[in-house]
Amino acid sequence: MHYIKTIALKEFTSFFKSPAAYMVLIGFLLITGWFFANPLFLINQSDLRTLFSIIPTIFLIFIPAITMGLVSKENNNGTIELLSTMPVKSSEIVLGKFIAGLGLICVGLLLSLIHPITIMLIGTNVDAGAMFSGYLGLLLLAAGYSAIGLFASCLTKNQIIAFIISFVIILFFYILDYALIFIPPAMSGIFQYLSINYHFSNIAKGVIDTRNLIYFGSMIYAFLFLASTTLDLKKR
């Protein structure tokens, strides 16, 4: 736990030593602000449905941008050699970096809480439960995407390549839901279960089902395991 905490803290603070993290956060807030303000001021609708439906799409770019450098930068600078010769396991390196990446996304989500707070202050018949489950869904979605992004970052020295790999994998899980109409009915159940949007939308609607939690849990575990295995394989 000590190593995970140290790595996570170092990574998290290093995000704020470069302008990139600020730019990503500002970009995220501007886009979410736009999709929050539009229904509120144009059609006087005080809910977060539009916002919750757009954030998974924003995450498609936002999360690979955050995770792309987590390990690939270490691979490129050679600092992975230093890290790997310290008494720390690959799984601890991966977990530390995962927590740091997710931490930055949580900062973005925390800052976006201004939107539900505004609605609570000015809206009527506000469904706090739906807001809570919506944010829980976003958090799980972010964790799943981050695990994929981290795995992609372990594969290469190049941040751009890491970004593209994670974008493609995330896009695969993202579009499955939209591609169901092209899939034979016999297989649609499997594809629907694999679709990240299907599980996210269930949670965002306020249905916190264990099947959805198991889906996200296994996705996070599988990609973190792959990331850790990738680091171990590089020793061969």
Binding site: T6, K10, S18, N77, E81, T85, P87, K235
Partner: protein, 313 residues
Amino acid sequence: MIRLENLVKDYGTVRAVNSIDFEINEGEILGFLGPNGAGKSTTLKMITCYLNPTAGNIHVGKYNVVENSAEIRSMIGYLPETNPLYTEMTVYDYLKYVATMRNIKGKEFNTAFKRTIDKCGLKEVVAKPIHTLSKGFKQRVGLAQAIIHNPRILILDEPTSGLDPNQIVEIRELIKELGKEKTVVLSSHILQEVQALCDRIIIINRGKIVADGSQADLTEDYSNRARLIIQVDASQEDLTKISGVIPSAKLVSCKSILDGFNEAVFEYTPTNDVRKEIYNYIKQQDWTLLEFHRDYISLEEVFRSLTIEGGNR
């Protein structure tokens, strides 16, 4: 202290390290010499547990790299060839991070930090971001991270590469100092560096050890050649005849130096010392002898003969 047993490392179809065996004793400064691509860095990376051996094993004290990697990593301080650093951090933050990763915290960190910056001469730059430092200081920071946990073993992969002559001297002094209390394994392809620092030298070529011993051992045993230089008032033709009379003395060169005097260089195998015979021959010919001395083969020549000519002992 460190024992390598039949160590093999393959990168795909390329065998980078080919069945090497040697032992490093406690307190020794070992120089690991070899041309680029000989397998030096790969061997060091296996000792530090960064790479797993394809076959064989490495024992460090009572541990081995296959089963006790974490214990070995905590015993070793390592400076990789490229000296990777988190350049956006300050020297203090970086060393604190490394120390925390090495389980050094609180008061223990303060003591370790002070000892390390004193030893590495980093006092004036502790608050500076690493990317603003000169290459010499960056190398010192690299060394500082390798010794902050006071390891028993220090592994330095080409520690002076890319430094200017003054910085090289400074880093060498530092390594010498550290070598008084630690086992140091130092890789280099700079012969003078290894000569200046190491008690023992191992030469590796194409993944195999081609020489192992002290500098004197290497120049004596591995070259398997000795030289005798004489200056006499004999013609070059007369000097050539010596090889005919004493077949084990091979005339390597002959040049005129003074009026009527010539200098001849003979080579012979150290096990078959020809000095007495040549001296007697000169006496017999009644030549005037100006110079008669044995010339040692340099480490550079040994290195070249073992690594370029591909000679094995």
